[in-house]
Symmetry: C2
DNA sequence: TGGTCATATGAGTAATTGTTCATATGTTTA
DNA sequence: TAAACATATGAACAATTACTCATATGACCA
């Protein structure tokens, strides 16, 4: 019973299609799942991070390599790599002073490709 | 010649792997393409918009339905629908006073599913 | 025509975020 | 140990953004 309550406080208009809404509500995934999904896409939602991921999909590279490739400061890249690591999208290994980063998820490219399909569908 | 220049102004460290960087550079897509891709994912990077898209994937709904379903104000939903429309992810049709929104891209669900695969890969 | 309702939109605001700058950490080598 | 170098990180700042509030627009109906 509890947990199935539907508050109408926020919606400042009359509901028109109760049946549709209720049907959709049943099919919606957990709130948390969709939140996590948004968090993941938020990580993809920055061109610096997209470029880093795309680059790492081609080859493992150290922080310095990436900074040079993208013409950005080491610090900026390092900050973004931290975000990508937290999202479990990249992993790293240390070799002396140098830290090498690589992709940690084989789905990244697939997600990118699907995104590109949408972009190229300019209607 | 021009356009192939590589500036080293920003990178404040020594490059270690010129060969790797150059090889990756050749394979990188257009700067603009990756920027557009990031813009698309930015749209996905908000749980309100994710929920709207997921809901619309289940059924066409009017603004009021969505506001009620997500327990948000009509205004907030309307603002987000505008963003989704600009990204060509939803379309709408008017029927009297009511405006119905629906998904305008069949890849959305595929992109979401790929994202979910990543999320569920908790290692 | 005036009133009501669904939706859209502009301004304002609090929160988030990407980068820079300075500096810390950790590793190698002299 | 000290110097040099690759990387990490905290604070600060500017830019962006999601929502609220007030109001505009557009459609229907009495």
């Amino acid at each position: 019973m509890a947990g199935k309550n539907v508050s109408t406080d926020r919606c400042d208009c009359e509901v028109i299609h109760d049946d549709v809404v209720n049907s959709v509500r049943k099919k919606m995934p957990e709130e948390e799942t969709l939140y996590d999904l948004a968090e993941l896409f938020k990580v993809f939602g920055d061109s610096t991070r997209i470029r880093i991921l795309w680059a790492l999909d081609e080859a493992e590279m150290c922080v310095c390599d990436i900074a040079y490739l993208l013409n950005m400061t080491q610090s900026a890249i390092s900050h973004q790599l931290r975000v990508l690591k937290q999202a479990k999208l990249v992993r790293n290994r240390r070799e002396g002073k140098v830290v090498y980063y690589s992709l940690d998820d084989e789905h990244v490219k697939m997600i990118f490709d699907q995104g590109l399909v949408h972009i190229n569908e300019e209607r």
